[in-house]
């Protein structure tokens, strides 16, 4: 409870900080909006030379894009600013300071900051999904909505695992710039359905490298083509991975012998 209160206070602080630079805040919202539009145009352009891709037609691909943007924007709001701050924390020695405080370091480090620059993308993604529902590309049923929600939670957990892995790497290497770049590279794997990859790679993406559960599975859950077993497998993998990476984080912190200063 106390931890949650602290995080809420920190969020408020980072919001106030963002509001100090209103000009640049407005600018980045516009930039993100264009980013969304160009991402959207990419699919339209893609389908000038293709009819369907691995069995997904253009409407279904747009559903995938909407879900992808939703997941991407969520990680951008909650995780990305913390990832950027982490390299600095280790380098400047502020990490040592935080570790001595009576708080859960993992929680605070993961959710210390929040960035609202991608709020625009969330709303545009929701508008896109809403429009596709009205258009009839998405057929909402209670079952598909429930599966979709479970799949989205699993997707966020998996991204959190990747985030935590990169945080461990930052502590371990004592310096790691461009971590966000590594994370975004991974996202380019999710822009197209996993069905496009060769069988062996696809198997990996459904198991050891669970890329499939980040956008493809939630999107097919929304489209009603995912089985409950598939979504549940994703959830189990996500929970296991969260547990494993948390353990890894604890070990990394135990082995940490301070850096910078």
């Amino acid at each position: 409870m106390l931890q949650a209160a602290i995080i809420l206070k920190l969020w408020k602080a980072s919001m106030m900080q963002a509001m100090e630079y209103r000009g640049s805040f407005a600018f980045s919202i516009i930039a993100n909006f264009f980013d969304f539009i160009f991402g959207f145009l990419q699919y339209l352009v893609f389908f000038t030379a293709a009819q369907s891709i691995a069995g997904w037609n253009s409407d279904q691909m747009l559903v995938l894009y909407g879900v992808f943007m939703l997941v991407f924007a969520l990680q951008f709001i909650f995780l990305y600013p913390n990832l950027v701050a982490m390299g600095d924390m280790v380098n400047s020695g502020n990490l040592d300071l935080l570790l001595t405080k009576p708080v859960n370091a993992q929680l605070i480090l993961s959710f210390r900051r929040i960035s609202f620059e991608e709020l625009g993308s969330i709303s545009t993604a929701l508008v896109l999904l809403g429009w596709l529902t009205v258009k009839g590309a998405i057929n909402l049923t209670p079952a598909s909505v429930a599966l979709f929600l479970v799949a989205i939670v699993a997707a966020m957990l998996l991204i959190y695992c990747l985030f935590l892995l990169l945080m461990c790497l930052a502590v371990f290497l004592e310096r790691l710039d461009n971590m966000a770049q590594l994370m975004w590279s991974m996202f380019s794997l999710c822009r197209y359905p996993v069905d496009v990859y060769p069988a062996r790679l696809r198997f990996m993406f459904f198991s050891f490298l669970p890329v499939a559960y980040i956008a493809s599975v939630p999107a097919s859950a929304l489209l009603g083509t995912a089985s409950a077993a598939q979504v549940m497998t994703g959830m189990i993998i996500a929970l296991t991975a969260t547990f494993a990476t948390t353990l890894l984080w604890r070990r990394t912190i135990r082995a940490y012998t301070s850096a910078g200063g």
């Binding site: 640049s24 600018f27 516009i30 930039a31 264009f34 980013d35 539009i37 160009f38 145009l41 990419q42 352009v45 893609f46 000038t48 030379a49 293709a50 009819q51 369907s52 891709i53 691995a54 710039d177 461009n178 770049q181 590594l182 975004w184 590279s185 380019s188 794997l189 822009r191 197209y192 069905d195 496009v196 990859y197 060769p198 790679l201």
Partner: protein, 273 residues
């Protein structure tokens, strides 16, 4: 007199390039991350294009797509320009003021830094490209490639790099007036480039009317054009026509850049440092 000045300037440029090589090489780790970024998206796109159901007018076969996306990371890297990130940073942190005092054109310095960066990146990219090419060698068609095509490709890469650098440069020089040029860059350089330059969709596979627009815009020459030459689907006339369009854009943006630079320096007042 003039001759000695030219040779002096040339050796200064060469020395700067060499210095940048050394500086960049100390940041090898960063280059590796950059390499992952350069390789991953073309891989994803190649997988996507191999599993599509094509439209009737799409001329590319699987072999074409494989060759295309095998070369994309290399061309993408070689024609890349960091000027648009580098220059606004120099304005903001004040290092431009220092550069201006040196008897060496600052823009050349940033351009050389960018070139050195792109060349060193090949150390990571080429081994991977050769390995990947070997792995899929039975699915590639390379028999039509001859020396002339390769020379055309090298020329096209150099021109493409030039036009991208000039456009990036023009955008970044707007940084004299605007504090943040990333949005402008995102639209003019990133977005349209990704759509019509041949990243997502090879330009040759567009429907007629879109292809026509793409061939007139400068973006095709930064990525798609050099690869189109290698695929051997362009006639000599088409290749020369491409060079002409690319040269036109280079000259235009060289003029624009010069104009902005002269105007911008007058309004530039240093801050930071």
């Amino acid at each position: 007199m003039i001759q000695s000045k030219i040779s002096q300037s040339f050796s200064a440029h060469l020395a700067t390039l060499r210095a940048h090589f050394k500086i960049i090489f100390t940041y090898r780790g960063m280059m590796l991350i950059q390499a992952v970024r350069l390789l991953l998206l073309p891989l994803v796109l190649a997988a996507a294009w191999l599993s599509i159901e094509k439209t009737a007018e799409n001329p590319y076969s699987d072999a074409d797509y494989l060759l295309y996306y095998l070369l994309v990371p290399v061309i993408l890297n070689l024609t890349d320009s960091r000027l648009v990130f580098r220059f606004p940073m120099a304005v903001r942190d004040g290092s431009l003021s220092r550069e201006l005092l040196k008897p060496f054109p600052p823009l050349s310095g940033y351009a050389l830094e960018s070139i050195a960066n792109n060349l060193i990146q090949l150390v990571y990219l080429l081994p991977f490209t050769l390995l990947a090419g070997y792995a899929i060698s039975d699915r590639l068609q390379l028999s039509h490639i001859n020396l002339q095509l390769l020379l055309f490709m090298v020329l096209a890469i150099m021109l493409g790099g030039l036009v991208r650098m000039l456009i990036s440069g023009s955008i970044s020089l707007v940084g004299f007036w605007l504090e943040d040029v990333t949005t402008l860059n995102l639209i003019l350089n990133g977005g349209i480039w990704a759509l019509l330059g041949g990243m997502i969709v090879p330009v040759a596979t567009f429907p007629q009317h879109i292809r026509y627009i793409a061939e007139l815009l400068p973006y095709r020459y930064m990525l798609s054009f050099p690869i189109e030459i290698v695929t051997g689907r362009l006639s000599q006339a088409q290749i020369l026509q491409g060079f002409a369009v690319c040269l036109f854009w280079s000259l235009l943006f060289a003029l624009i850049m010069r104009l902005i630079w002269k105007r911008g320096l007058k309004v530039y007042a240093a801050y930071g440092g």
